[in-house]
């Protein structure tokens, strides 16, 4: 049914349709309405699950870990400082191969303290062993949650659904919310491969020394590599059921004959597509490559999508301080050893909720058309503010 919903409320609807058995979250900012809505559904009897009010995000992650290990479909949500506080548990959940699903409503991290959107939080946790998917709009975010549970439980790898805080979580959009029968048919009840029960005792989380640790990590790495195909398959099956396919790890937009390709992820894509349409009307050969999955990293698909371009500009809302945008570095790795490599530049935009306007994207694209030198830039910086901040620092 098509409904007009705020992003986080839409996600709550989709999560409830997945029938999680345990929901646990720490309630305050940087939390969203997702967990408040789930609590209300429980109070109204629309959702049948255990709901734990955690004393911190660290506990929230630990509770879903315990619930998942007991064989329950488990869900949590957080972002920003909350995600960083969870870091130790995030690695642990992945290492124990527990199929937890969480929403990350992407937001900036402190200092300076700032509650607004960028993607520094989840990008900083890209190595923790979770599948990471980035949604472009609310519909995709909702659909991704249904697919996320299916993928997580099939592969025993946890999945993080990343959606831009505020820009998606607090934006009201028309969303097609599927019926429960449809979701039940796509996503049957969770049947764990292993779980804690006195009927068949297992030991989980044992200590592995130098004699076995590396092999166990290698198995996780291999499972993650194999996940690429599973993600696409899952989306294809989803399309069969729901009539919507947005499952390729990498998606092109007006990219076939483009000399300049802009690469990005998340909600920036919407703005970028508008700018590219305008630039195309003006005769500029500019296109877009959207990265939907950061882990597993679609290296081959990106190489395929980008290798014919002369220039690539990676536009992202995160930075590896002292280097460049994180996604940009990873895209460079797709061309390691290639004889012909496009000139790849990094553009860091929109940190801490700074608006990314059409004219910022236009400036980046036109800049790359006129000067293809590889560079690292922060676009959209206010030089007056920069000057006064510098004075205070001195």
């Amino acid at each position: 049914m098509r409904r007009i919903l705020e992003g986080s409320r839409a996600v709550a609807e989709f999560v409830a349709l997945c029938r999680p058995k345990v929901v646990c979250a720490y309630p305050i900012t940087p939390q969203t309405h997702i967990v408040e809505d789930l609590a209300r559904m429980l109070a109204d009897g629309r959702l049948d699950a255990g709901y734990v009010l955690a004393d911190s995000e660290f506990t929230a992650a630990s509770v879903v870990l315990g619930a998942s290990a007991t064989g329950a479909r488990a869900y949590t949500a957080t972002s920003s400082q909350g995600l960083l506080l969870m870091t130790e548990v995030m690695f642990n959940i992945a290492g124990m191969r527990l199929p937890v699903v969480m929403t990350v409503a992407n937001r900036a991290v402190s200092a300076p303290i700032n509650i607004w959107n960028d993607q520094q939080d989840s990008m900083s946790l890209r190595d923790c062993g979770w599948i990471q998917m980035y949604a472009e709009d609310v519909q995709e975010a909702g659909d991704m949650h249904i697919q996320a549970f299916e993928i997580a439980e099939r592969l025993n790898i946890p999945v993080m659904v990343c959606m831009d805080g505020y820009i998606l979580t607090h934006a009201t959009e028309t969303v097609d919310v599927p019926g429960p029968e449809q979701v039940d048919s796509y996503l049957p009840p969770f049947e764990p491969r292993f779980y804690l029960t006195p009927d068949d005792p297992i030991t989980l989380g044992s200590m592995a020394g130098p004699d076995a640790y590396m092999e166990i990590r290698m198995l996780l790495h291999q499972a993650m590599q194999k996940a690429s195909q599973a993600i696409v398959d899952s989306a294809a099956r989803f399309a069969g059921e729901f009539g919507r396919f947005r499952g390729d790890l990498v998606e092109g937009y007006r990219d076939s004959d483009a000399e300049v390709l802009l690469v990005s992820m998340g909600s920036l894509l919407g703005t970028m597509k508008e700018v590219v349409d305008e630039l195309r009307d003006e005769g500029h050969p500019v296109g877009i490559i959207k990265v939907r999955t950061v882990r597993p990293f679609p290296r081959n698909q990106l190489h395929e999508a980008l290798h014919n371009a002369r220039v690539v500009g990676v536009v992202e809302k995160d930075i590896s301080l002292g280097l460049e945008g994180i996604l940009c570095s990873e895209i460079r790795s797709a061309f390691c050893g290639a004889s012909l490599t496009p000139n790849i530049s990094s553009f860091v935009v929109g940190l801490g909720g700074r608006d990314v306007r059409k004219r910022d994207i236009r400036k980046i694209a036109l800049g790359l058309l006129s000067d293809d030198t590889c560079r690292v830039e922060m676009t959209g910086v206010d030089h007056e503010v920069l000057w006064s901040a510098h004075q205070i620092e001195d």
């Binding site: 058995k21 345990v22 646990c24 049948d48 699950a49 255990g50 734990v52 009010l53 955690a54 004393d55 911190s56 660290f58 506990t59 630990s62 509770v63 879903v64 870990l65 315990g66 619930a67 998942s68 290990a69 007991t70 064989g71 329950a72 488990a74 130790e88 548990v89 642990n92 124990m96 804690l196 029960t197 006195p198 005792p201 297992i202 030991t203 989980l204 989380g205 044992s206 200590m207 592995a208 020394g209 076995a212 166990i216």
Partner: protein
């Protein structure tokens, strides 16, 4: 011991604990009392390391270790999941951690578990030191004890603070049952575990568990050391229900010993008997014991 007895142990022998480990003795006793219908969580620490070196495990019951500070949170997730899945048919959830994993780094998680009212028994094996990582001081290290982070020297008599009163903190949360116990009295541990598990709601049992290597005592002295702690008044054994003390293990007049009896055999207190002025610090410890005797009415 017969083969049958060995095989029926829920925490199997063959683990890698030190000879004379008080925590191994206490944990085995806890599990024998709890029985098979349990799910255990375990904080990082000696108990986890010496029982589960991959690919072996001592645990004949479902057991999970996640991290150092979250044994109580993981247990909360298990308890809620069992209920949500309709599998809460008498299965007891027990969280286990050492003193550091409970009183220091795991304090927030424990507080949350207690406050939310989960039906979980939390067992703290109190070795009074971070045993697993090289004997550093924890919030339950006693006054004047030498540890690697409270060393003795010209300016120091060891740990300068008293043990955190954890049972009182747990009681303030409204835990339905609280007990202190001692590896020196395994039958008492069993009784208290069984009693704890007869209550619904959050329960807490803190077991004094000598760490032979951390305390610097001979491995055959584990039980004797634990008993001396109890019989000097340094480790009062009591039970609380709904915040009130309901039972205390009395020290018979003939069994009462001065704290010297407990302190002297331990290297962590050797400085008190080696350097001038040490007797004043022994007196401080005796004062702690005397205050316990008074507070809990231990003599009888």
């Amino acid at each position: 011991m017969s083969n049958e007895q060995v095989e029926s142990r829920l925490m199997a022998y063959g683990h890698t604990a030190c000879a004379g480990c008080g925590e191994a003795l206490a944990a085995r006793t806890v599990l024998e009392a709890a029985g098979r219908n349990v799910i255990l969580t375990n904080a990082t620490g000696c108990l986890e390391v010496f029982t589960t070196r991959f690919p072996r495990s001592s645990w004949q019951v479902p057991w999970i270790h996640s991290l150092f500070e979250n044994a109580a949170s993981v247990a909360s997730g298990i308890e809620v999941a069992l209920k949500a899945l309709g599998r809460d048919t008498g299965t007891k959830v027990i969280a286990q951690a050492g003193d550091g994993g409970t009183a220091d780094i795991g304090m927030g998680a424990l507080s949350g578990m207690l406050e939310r009212g989960h039906d979980i028994l939390y067992v703290c094996y109190d070795t009074e030191v971070y045993s697993n990582t090289g004997y550093q001081r924890s919030g339950l290290t006693p006054l004047n004890a030498l540890t690697t982070t409270s060393p003795t020297g010209k300016m120091s008599w060891g740990n300068a603070t008293r043990k955190k009163d954890l049972p009182a903190i747990v009681a303030a949360h409204g835990a339905v049952y609280i007990a202190t116990a001692s590896a020196g009295y395994p039958v008492d541990i069993q009784r208290k575990i069984k009693k704890a598990l007869s209550f619904t709601g959050p329960k807490y049992v803190q077991i004094h568990s000598p760490c032979v290597s951390g305390w610097g005592v001979e491995s055959h002295l584990t039980v004797r050391m634990a008993q001396a702690a109890v019989n000097s008044g340094l480790y009062p054994l009591f039970e609380m229900e709904d915040g009130e003390i309901v039972r205390v293990r009395k020290i018979k007049r003939d069994d009462l010993v001065p704290v010297d009896e407990y302190l002297r055999p331990q290297k962590r207190f050797a400085h008190l008997y080696r350097y001038p002025g040490g007797d004043e610090h022994v007196k401080q410890i005796q004062a702690v014991a005397d205050a316990n005797i008074e507070r809990y009415g231990l003599l009888g």
